[in-house]
């Protein structure tokens, strides 16, 4: 039924092309140089070192940003400790909540500016920054602000107590949103924070420092240090940090776990993924195809929970792959600031190199590669959306996280085979199930070993929902009530 081996293709190369529709950037202010945010003030790094942050869509320098060294980390941790001991841990919880609400509201007020900066610094389409990243970041602050004075109700019959100073290291794929994921629950639970944004995307975190200043938070409650991996290592290894929260690659997560072994620091790690999106023959195929597009091409595939593997039941496999290829003809790759862009720039030259290495590897391994053949802009880092078919479980493009717009497609015959393939991975962050049968959703959902399972949708996020991984996808949960316990001692 409904098996279409389509002989007739459509022509999407129409005479009606969309004119450029660039987002206005007049209202955006980016300074030439940014210092470190320590103890409520912007201060120069001790060693006086700065590095460039660029726009990956045109390789132009956006600003110079301070490189925090070990001394700067020490200063920030001391500021956070002082703020914790003297102010934040003693403050009435409802008062803490007020400050967090204030941050949320200021982010909303400055949402357009944040969206543009997120787009130029990271390469993501303005549509996503505007409709997903920034509203969700504000929503996280709103949500956790509400918990600040209700922790006793979240954990009845226990005595929730704050931990102290939290060191937080975040990735470049959702810069402001990840900062919100980390800072909001930490503050709500009464901790103070030293946060390090990713080297390639520091600007919205520095803008957030301005928001924190504007919200009049007591100095030292939130400190923001820019820098590279060595800055992160100094935070992780600092003796006076009580908790480490990290989102990033599994490799770095492993190094952090080593460093923390034998210490009494608490930690949560959100790491890689290689999620399977499973389409059963009884699914609403057109909506499933759209779901696959959202699962793997959202944010250029720079998403830890991306649906980077597609498992299709064989009776609809030809139809799904054909429709996916047709759908890809209408994806617009280009200027991230254009409101019609679907797929923006790859975040950095290094990441592009990594993705391209996998494209070569997949072909060497004998996989069949499909791209629409769109033309990349001359400057910047770009990768056309890509499918790999004719792949098996043993292919590296099926096993390893590529973190780009690259989808590996396999077929299955039975439900058990789908589950076995989905679970046969070192990761377990997310998964997707597409079927018209409610019972099948629960049956398969219970068998997939992953932290988040989406049914008939993908990449949906909400501050009330916990997020985290099985196996090498991480330790602990963020978001929702679960996310509170990561920042509390529960006696």
């Amino acid at each position: 039924m409904n098996k279409r081996i389509a002989p007739h293709k459509l022509n999407f190369d129409t005479g009606w092309a969309y004119s450029p529709a660039p987002e206005s950037i007049d209202h955006v202010h980016i300074k030439d140089q940014y210092k470190l945010f320590i103890g409520g003030k912007f201060v120069a790094p001790k060693a006086g070192k700065y590095f460039n942050t660029i726009n990956p869509a045109n390789e132009k320098v956006l600003a110079r940003v301070a490189q925090a060294g070990a001394t700067d980390v020490d200063r920030a941790v001391n500021a956070a400790r002082g703020a914790y001991d003297n102010i934040w841990s003693k403050m009435k919880p409802a008062e803490r909540g007020k400050y967090i609400y204030r941050i949320a509201r200021i982010i909303q007020e400055r949402a357009r500016e944040f969206a543009v900066i997120e787009s130029v610094d990271g390469g993501k389409p303005i549509r996503e920054a505007r409709d997903v990243d920034i509203p969700l970041a504000a929503a996280h602050f709103f949500y956790y602000a509400g918990w600040a004075d209700k922790l006793n109700y979240a954990f009845p019959c226990r005595t929730p107590q704050s931990l102290g100073v939290a060191g937080q290291i975040i990735p470049w794929n959702f810069p402001l949103l990840m900062a919100a994921w980390k800072i909001a629950p930490a503050l709500a639970c009464g901790n103070t924070v030293v946060l390090k944004p990713a080297e390639t995307t520091p600007l919205t975190a520095l803008k957030l420092a301005e928001v924190i200043e504007a919200a009049d938070l007591p100095p030292g409650v939130v400190n923001i240090l820019t820098g590279d991996g060595s800055t992160g290592a100094a935070i992780v290894n600092h003796d006076d940090v009580n908790k480490i929260a990290f989102t990033g690659s599994t490799n770095v997560g492993r190094i952090i776990q080593h460093a923390l072994a034998g210490t009494d620091k608490k930690y949560t790690l959100e790491l890689g993924g290689k999620a399977a999106n499973i389409i059963f023959a009884d699914a609403a195929i057109d909506q499933a195809v759209e779901g696959v597009v959202n699962a793997i091409f959202f944010n250029q595939g720079h998403v830890c929970c991306a649906g980077s593997r597609l498992l299709v039941q064989e009776s609809v496999a030809d139809e799904v792959v054909f429709k996916l290829k047709e759908r890809m003809q209408t994806l617009i790759v280009g200027d991230p600031l254009d409101k019609n862009t679907d797929i923006g720039a790859i975040n950095s030259a290094a990441q592009l190199e990594r993705i391209n290495a996998y494209l070569d590897l997949g072909q060497e391994e004998g996989a069949e590669m499909f791209q629409c053949g769109g033309k990349n802009p001359d400057k910047g880092y770009w990768c056309q959306p890509t499918l790999f078919t004719n792949v098996a479980q043993s292919h590296r493009v099926v096993r390893e996280e590529i973190f780009g717009p690259v989808l590996a497609i396999q077929t299955f015959r039975t439900l058990d085979e789908a589950v076995a393939k989905a679970n046969n991975t070192q990761y377990g962050l997310s998964g997707g199930i597409w079927t018209d049968k409610g019972a099948k959703i629960f049956n398969v959902g219970a068998k997939i070993r992953a932290g988040v399972i989406w049914a008939n949708t993908f990449n949906k996020f909400d501050p009330t929902s916990p997020f985290g991984g099985y196996k090498e996808s991480g330790v602990g949960r963020e978001g929702g009530m679960h996310g509170l316990s990561a920042y509390l001692d529960l006696h």
Partner: protein, 305 residues
């Protein structure tokens, strides 16, 4: 189309599933497209050329129809280089008048028929009405399906009626109105679309305009996807006509975005896509004037009909 010995109506479970949430999300993406500058002007001109300028009131008079035809041919003479609309859509009683008024302008006369808008008449009466409208000069027939029978599950009867209507049309094009506002679910919209196309519809059309909701983007998307899949399977192109409720240029442009990204280049013409609308044309003209002069004129600067 060659006559087949036995034609069987598709059953509901032979139509693909539709997920309402996913359809709404896809529509939201179309509506997030930002159409500016020359692409906007191009779209506005295309919209004008795809309009079925419509009057379907009990109080219609020959004079009113003549006026409408005049407007159809000369939308707004102070704007140079704009197209005329695709067709004028009237009741059978007004077909002869419209035909006379439009003369050799190239604008088609579409007539509703089959006991429009309810369809509550015997098939025999419906077929006679179609034949009459065609004899009077109708180029296109907009029929309604028997929703009562469809909802009762008598799919074969609905199917056979469409087949008979198609035959009664002769050379005239047949548009089949599903009246999606009475079908209730997108699954039924999809099933009815399959059924109408397999029965021989040249166009499928959302609504009569007499029932709310009339055309919506989600409903139209499901019908466009049905048309696309039918084309993939058979190679036969079927046209699409959303009707009712599209009165603003901006919304019409979003429909074109949806058309472009679902069916592509071949459908971007009045031959394969129409808007059933009465007040849309003036809003489009107003936008075109604004693109030319940079200021909006009040609605009094545009003739009502």
């Amino acid at each position: 189309m060659a006559k087949m010995a036995v034609m069987i109506a598709p059953k509901p479970d032979q139509a693909p599933r539709v997920d309402q949430v996913g359809v709404d999300e896809r529509v939201a993406r179309f509506r997030a497209r930002s159409i500016k500058k020359s692409s906007k002007v191009q779209a506005l001109n295309l919209v004008l050329s795809q309009i079925d300028l419509t009057t379907l009131e009990g109080q219609d008079t020959p004079g009113k129809v003549r006026q409408l035809c005049q407007k159809a041919m000369r939308l707004h003479d102070s704007l140079p280089d704009i197209p005329h609309v695709a067709a004028v859509c009237v009741y059978p009683m007004m077909v002869a008048e419209a035909k006379k008024a439009l003369g050799s302008s190239g604008i088609k006369v579409a007539s509703v028929a089959t006991s429009f808008p309810s369809g509550m008449a015997p098939t025999k009466v419906k077929l006679e009405e179609i034949q009459l409208a065609v004899e009077l000069g109708a180029d296109e027939i907009d029929m309604v399906i028997s929703r009562g029978k469809f909802l009762e599950g008598k799919y074969q009867e609905v199917f056979d009626e469409i087949v008979a209507c198609k035959e009664a049309c002769g050379e005239a094009h047949l548009k089949v109105i599903l009246e999606t506002g009475e079908l209730g679910t997108l699954d039924r919209v999809r099933h009815a679309s399959e059924l109408a196309m397999q029965a021989g519809a040249d166009f499928i059309k959302t609504s009569t305009g007499k029932i709310q909701p009339a055309a919506t983007m989600p409903v139209t998307l499901v019908m466009l996807q049905a048309i696309r899949d039918y084309y993939y399977d058979t190679g036969r192109m079927v046209g699409m006509k959303p009707a009712g409720g599209i009165s603003k240029a901006k919304l019409a442009i979003h429909y074109l975005v949806m058309l472009r990204e679902t069916l592509g280049e071949a459908w971007m013409s009045p031959d394969w896509f129409r808007f059933g609308a009465s007040s849309l044309a003036n809003d489009v003209l107003m936008q075109l004037q604004k693109q030319r002069t940079g200021v909006y004129q009040s609605e009094d600067y545009f003739s009502k009909d």
